[in-house]
């Protein structure tokens, strides 16, 4: 029995020795991932930073009385860091195209509102299902959005010009800015 054990041990050692003697050669290469902070915000419908125009058609007195609401508009943030979202209009007043002269001055901040109806950013929103104004001063409406590749949210606009303004087309751009923390 001892002889068998001894023989087995010798065989194992021999096998290990033979295996250890297999010549080998190693080569190595350093791999660097050079990460730069990156963020973008786009409209989901056209995967672009410029969304499709939103048109409010005021055709009846009820439209003027009640105001109009847009269809939901989904946006998406991609960021490798947490972020805030802010909003502003491109100008304090709508630009006017129409027949009235001089052009009427419609202040954006008292007419155009927005709210967030869906929030998948992981952040906290001031306008979560609650309308708040948009004007030419940039203000932060969402804090601490979480980094990710599909941090989406949905907004709805509301326009309430009242009965003060004559017919015509009143235009402003709304600018959203996503900023890394």
């Amino acid at each position: 029995m001892k002889k068998i054990l001894l023989f087995t041990a010798v065989l194992v050692l021999l096998a290990a020795a033979v295996r250890a003697q297999n010549p080998s050669s190693a080569a190595s290469q350093t791999t660097n991932l050079n990460l730069t902070d990156a963020i973008d915000i786009t409209f989901v419908a056209n995967n672009s930073a410029t969304g499709a125009a939103v048109n409010f058609a005021f055709n009846t007195v009820n439209d003027y009385a009640n105001g109009l609401e847009s269809a939901p508009i989904q946006m998406r943030v991609r960021s490798n860091k947490m972020f805030n979202l802010s909003v502003k209009s491109s100008n304090a007043y709508f630009t006017y195209s129409g027949t009235t002269s001089p052009a009427p001055q419609m202040y954006v901040g008292s007419v155009l509102y927005f709210k967030m109806t869906q929030n998948n950013t992981g952040g906290w929103s001031w306008v979560n299902n609650r309308y708040d104004y948009i004007d030419h001063i940039n203000w932060t409406f969402l804090y601490y959005g979480v980094n990710g590749g599909d941090q989406n949210f949905t907004i709805v606009y509301r326009a309430t010009p009242g009965f003060t303004f004559p017919a015509g087309t009143y235009t402003t751009d709304v600018i959203y800015t996503a900023t890394q923390l």
Binding site: A26, S28, A38, R78
Partner: protein, 183 residues
Amino acid sequence: MKKVIAIAALSIVGFASKAQSVSSTATQTVNLNLSNAIELTFTGNNSATGAAVNLAFNTVNDYANGVESAAQQLKVRSNKKFGVSVKTSAANFSYTGSTTPAPTMPVSGVLGLKVSANGTGGTIATPFSATAYNGLSATAANLISNGLNGGNQTFSVMYEATPGFTYPAGTYTVDVVYTATQL
């Protein structure tokens, strides 16, 4: 008749003398003492230490889609059939940057490799392939099986990194170690 016999005897003596010509031979043993030898190098610099591969993530699309390296060619010289294995030097990337504490990015799930060309005569070992990226880790995995002996047995690899949107800016580093072993 006696004279004829005498001449014949002389002739025989003459032949006997010729058979005794002095000669000498010399022989020499030539031994080729071959030891098994194998070497693995990067053809780009003919060195066992390849040039650093830098994968730059500058846009969100880089983060979303991952970034792929150029092909890196390696060469094996071996007098026997061989296999090649691959692993990383550590389970996690080391970090250089401004974030504190340093983020921990695991190699597994982030760094992948494919064999974009194989001129070793061997086969690409599963799960690696020529078309799809497969993950690397700190555990050695077979990359090439049954490579044939030869002086220019080359293969090329490409890397892909997909860190996702989880990590802050900085440089994340790990070494990829290839080992060619004779069978």
